[in-house]
Amino acid sequence: MKHLRIAALAGISILALGHAAFAQNYSQAPELDALVSSGDLPAVADRVGAEPRVIVPVSEVGRYGGTFRGGMVGGNDRNMLFTHFGYEPLIAWDADWTGEVVPNIASGYTASADSKDFTFTLREGMKWSDGSPFTADDVAFFIQDVLPDEKLFPTKPGWLTVEGELPTVSVASPTEFTISWTKPNGLFVVNAASVYGVQLALLNKAYCSQFMPKYNPDAEANATAAGAADWAEHMVNMCGVGIENIQRWRNPDRPTLEAWRITEPYEAGATRVTLERNPYYWKVDTAGNQLPYIDDLSISVNAESQTLLLSVLAGEIDYESRHTANPVNLPVIAEGMETGDYYISARESRVGNAMTISVNLNSPDPVKHDVFQNKDFRVALSHALDRQAIIDALYLGQGTPQQVSPRQGTPYYNERLATQFIAYDVEEANRLLDSIGLDKRGGNGFRLAPDGSPLVVNVAAVTALGAMADAAELFVQYWQAVGVDARFAAMDRTRFYEEKTASQHDIVVWGATSGGIDVFIDPRDYFPFSTESNFAVEWAKFYIGDGGQEPPDYVKEQWSLYDQIKATSDADEQAALFQKLLDIAADQFYQIGVSTAINGFAVVSNNLGNVPEGTPVGWIHPDPGTLSVEQFYFKQ
C-alpha cells in the first residue's frame, strides 16, 4: 500500500497535470449553443476556467444528450442524490480506492511535516453554477463563519476537530488557502477525500452569506417573512449547509459546483426529482468536451424497493446499485437482463465481514454478564456454527468462512483475528460450555446458568434486513444444538437500536463496517469506539464521554493506540499501531463473524457508457459518485 503513503506522508503534494493544451478548443453540449449565441451564457472556454480538471473517460469519449433515470426509495433518501451526484470534494479518492488521492476541486495540496497545516491550490477561473467565481474565500467562509456557528453547526464534524479544537484558515490568494490546527490531525487527508470532505466546498459565500445577520442586517427579517423560525433555519432551507441535509436538494437557486443542478426539488410528497446540466461545470474530457455528457437527471421516488426493482426489470432505470442490488434479487435481475436491456456490473464490498454477531459484554443481568464475558462462551458459540452451510444457504457459496477482521490484502489484515475459532466443531463447543459451568441441563434439555437458573439467550436481528434475520434464525438452531437456549427475536429497526444502545440486548446480528482504508475512520468493530460497537456499548459510551462503564485496561490500551494513530501521518506507523490494536481485539475475541464480505453489484443499462467494472464501494467511498458520473454517457 505504497500509495497510501503518498496521500498521507508529510510534505508531499500532488499537483494537477497541465491542461493548457485544450484551453483554446473546448466544446460544449449542443443544448447550450443557442444560449451562448444569444448571449445568455458566456463562451465555453470562459465557463470552464483556465485549468479545468481533465477526466480520462473510462472507455471512450462520449456523446452529449439524454436523461439519466434513477430511483430513490422510502422517506428521505437524500443520500441517494449525495452518493450519485454530490461527491465533489477538494481532493478525491481514485475510483479503485487504492488510498491514492487525486486532485478534484483543488488542483493540489501540501501537508506540513507535523500534519498541522494543509495548503490547497484552487483552479484559476473556476465558477459556480450561477457563473460567479469560486475562490478560497468560499472555503474560508465555511471555516470561519459557518462551522463555528452554534445554530448552523451545533455539533461539529469529528474529523474537523482535534481534541475539540476547530481549524483556522488563512487565505493567501483567491486560489490558495491553508487550513491549520495547533495539534496534528493525522487523518485529515483521508477524511477530506471521503464523502465528508464535500463539506469544505459546498457553500457559495456570495449567495449563502445573505442569510446571515453578520453579512445582511435584514437576514432575520427575511427569515421571518419566509416563514422560518430564525435566520439559521432559513439559511439551512436555502443553502443546505450540511452535506447530508435534505435541503441541499431543494433550492434551484443555490449555486453549486456539481455537474447537475436541481430543477424539481426533493420535497416530502415529491414523486420525481429532476436535475439539469450545470453549464459552468469545470471538468472536461480528454478531447476538450465540457462535461457532463448527460443533459438531465430524472429520479423517481419509490415507496418500496420492490417497485424500484420492477422498474429496473422493465428497463426504466439506467443505473441502480443502492436499493435493489443485493444477493436476494440477483437471480431475478440476472434473468431479466435481456428484456430490461441492462447488464450486471460487479462491485467490490470492502467491509470486514458479511455480518457481525455481537455478544453483549455489558449485559445488565449479572448472571448473563458473567457468562457473556467469558471468552470461552463466545468461542463455543463460534465453534457451534457451520459457516460453510450458512454461506451456502444465504449467499450461494460466495464468501469464505472468516471472523470479523480487516480484509486480506490490506496492510491491516490480522490473520489470527480473521481465522481463529472458525472450525465447525460441535464437540469442542460442548466441551467449552461444560467447562465454564454450563454443564447442568434443565427440564427442556437446555443448559442452565451456573447458578441453576434457566439461561435464555435472545438473538436479535432486524426483520427489514432480510439476510441478517435469516442468519439469526439459522444461528439459533446451531446454538440450540449445543444446548444453549437461544431464541430468535425479530425486531423493527428502531426497537433494535433502542435496545442495543441501552445495552439491553443479549446477542445482536448486524452488518460489519470497515475493512479497508476506512478502518481508521470507523474502527467500531475492533474496539469499543462508538455506540455502534454492539459488543460493548457501555465501554464505548465511556470512551466518547457519554457516561457508560469504565472498561478493563486492555480496552484503554486500544484507545491509547488509536490516539497515537490519529496523531501521526506516517502510514506505516499507523498500520503498525493498528496491528497492535487488532492483536488485543484477537485476544479478546469481541465479535463473531461468519464469512468474508459478499460483493455487491450495480445494474447498468446497456445504453450507458463509461461505467467501470469491479470498483470498490462503501459509504465513505460512494458508488457511483467516485466513478466520475459526469463522464457516463448514452450510446444512443
Binding site: Q306, L313, N329, I333, E335, A393, R495
Partner: protein, 385 residues
C-alpha cells in the same frame, strides 16, 4: 318468522317448560335447518373443507414432514416434487413404491442461483407413518411419527417446494394453518360476544346509552387499524414469549372487530323495536334482557351468521396483511401471513411461484368459510321457502 312471532301471548315460563320438556318442536327446527343446509351443495362441500383445514391445524406436527424451521442449504428455492407411485422393479415390470424424484443440482455462475434438474435415476422412496424428526405433539408427548415422509430422512422431500433457506414449504404451511385458523376462530368468538351485547343494548335502548356506545364505536372505527397495530406491536414487552404475543394480537384484532357486529345488530334493532311483536312482548311485561335475548335476537340470527362468516375470513386476512407489512406476527412464529412476506419479493413471482401456496390456502380457507356461512345463513331460517 321464528318461534316467537306466532306465540306472543303465551306465558314465557310455560314456553320454557315446554321447550325443556321437548314438547314443542325445538329439536325439529334443527333437523329442518340441517335438511335445508344439505340442499346447498357448495356449503356441504365447504363444511368438509373447513373441517379438513381445522383437522390439519389440530394435527400439524404429525401431518407435516418436518419441523417448520428445519433448513437445508443445498435446497434453497427448490421446486416442488410430485409423488410417483410405481417404480421399475428391474425386471421390466412395475412395482408399487411411492417415491419422489431427486435433483441434479448445478450452480448458475451468472445469477448465483441453483438450477434443479429432476434426475429420474434418483428415486427417493417415501412412506406413510414414517419415523422422522422428533417433536412434541401438542407440546405434550414426544413423538417422531410423520404422516408422510422420505424413508431415508436425509433425502430431499419437498412436495410444495422450498423457500429461500431451503425450508420445506409444505411443513411450514401446515404449521401456519394452526396459527392462522385459530386466530380467526378465537378472534371472532371474542368479537361476537362483545358485539352482540353492546350492539343489542345500543339498538334496543336507544337514547343516551345508544349515543355513548355509538360514540365508542365511532371512535374505535375511526382509528386507522394499521397505525394502531404498529404502535401496539412496538409497545409489546420484548420478553413476551411468541405465544403471548400471538394472544395479544388476537385480542387487539377482536377489540376492533366487535364494532362491525355491534353495528349490524344495532341497525336491525333500531327498526325492530317498533315491530308489533316486540311492543306486544314489552307490554306483556317481559324483562328487557329476556326480550333482547329470546325475542329479538332470534330474528337476527341470519344477520349474525352472515356477519360471522364474513368476520372469520376478515380476521385471517387481517393477520395476513399485517404480517405481510411486518407488523403482525414475526418469525420464528409461522403463520400464513408470515409465509406470504416472502411473496413481497419479485423473485417469488418470476422464479418461485410455489411460494404463493400459503396464499392459495388463505383463499381456500376464506372461500370455504364463506360458502359454509352462506349455507348456514340460508338454512338458519328453515320456515322460509
Amino acid at each position: 318468522m321464528t318461534l316467537e312471532a306466532p306465540l306472543p301471548h303465551q306465558d314465557d315460563d310455560l314456553l320454557d317448560r315446554q321447550l325443556n320438556a321437548g314438547q314443542l318442536q325445538a329439536a325439529g327446527q334443527w333437523t329442518m335447518v340441517w335438511n335445508k343446509f344439505r340442499k346447498h351443495k357448495l356449503a356441504v362441500v365447504s363444511l368438509f373443507v373447513v373441517a379438513l383445514i381445522y383437522f390439519v391445524a389440530l394435527l400439524a406436527e404429525f401431518l407435516a414432514p418436518y419441523d417448520p424451521g428445519k433448513f437445508d442449504p443445498r435446497y434453497t428455492y427448490v421446486p416442488p416434487q410430485s409423488i410417483g407411485w410405481f417404480v421399475d422393479d428391474g425386471a421390466g415390470g412395475q412395482s408399487f413404491q411411492p417415491h419422489v424424484i431427486g435433483f441434479d443440482i448445478k450452480l448458475d455462475p451468472v445469477s448465483f442461483r441453483r438450477i434443479f434438474t429432476p434426475d429420474p435415476t434418483q428415486v427417493i422412496p417415501i412412506g406413510f407413518f414414517v419415523p422422522g424428526q422428533s417433536y412434541k405433539m401438542w407440546g405434550l408427548f414426544d413423538m417422531n411419527l410423520h404422516f408422510i415422509g422420505p424413508l431415508d430422512p436425509s433425502q430431499p422431500f419437498f412436495l410444495a417446494g422450498g423457500d429461500r433457506l431451503g425450508r420445506d414449504l409444505l411443513s411450514r404451511t401446515i404449521h401456519g394453518t394452526r396459527i392462522s385458523m385459530s386466530i380467526g376462530l378465537v378472534g371472532v368468538g371474542l368479537s361476537l360476544l362483545i358485539g352482540m351485547i353492546l350492539g343489542g343494548i345500543s339498538g334496543y335502548r336507544g337514547g343516551m346509552v345508544d349515543r355513548v356506545i355509538q360514540r365508542v364505536i365511532e371512535f374505535i372505527r375511526s382509528v386507522p387499524t394499521i397505525p394502531l397495530w404498529l404502535g401496539l406491536a412496538a409497545a409489546m414487552p420484548k420478553d413476551w414469549p411468541p405465544l403471548q404475543v400471538y394472544f395479544a394480537i388476537l385480542i387487539i384484532l377482536s377489540l376492533i372487530g366487535w364494532t362491525e357486529i355491534a353495528r349490524v345488530v344495532r341497525g336491525r334493532f333500531l327498526s325492530l323495536r317498533t315491530d308489533d311483536f316486540v311492543i306486544a312482548a314489552r307490554l306483556d311485561g317481559v324483562s328487557e334482557f329476556r326480550l333482547i335475548m329470546r325475542h329479538m335476537m332470534p330474528s337476527l340470527y341470519s344477520h349474525i351468521i352472515a356477519a360471522i362468516t364474513l368476520a372469520i375470513p376478515n380476521m385471517i386476512l387481517a393477520e395476513t396483511s399485517l404480517s405481510f407489512l411486518g407488523l403482525g406476527l414475526q418469525p420464528p412464529i409461522v403463520s400464513w401471513g408470515v409465509l406470504l412476506q416472502d411473496t413481497q419479493n419479485l423473485r417469488a413471482i418470476t422464479q418461485a411461484p410455489w411460494l404463493f401456496v400459503p396464499g392459495a390456502c388463505v383463499v381456500l380457507a376464506v372461500l370455504a368459510l364463506n360458502f359454509l356461512g352462506d349455507g348456514v345463513r340460508d338454512a338458519a331460517d328453515p320456515y322460509a321457502k
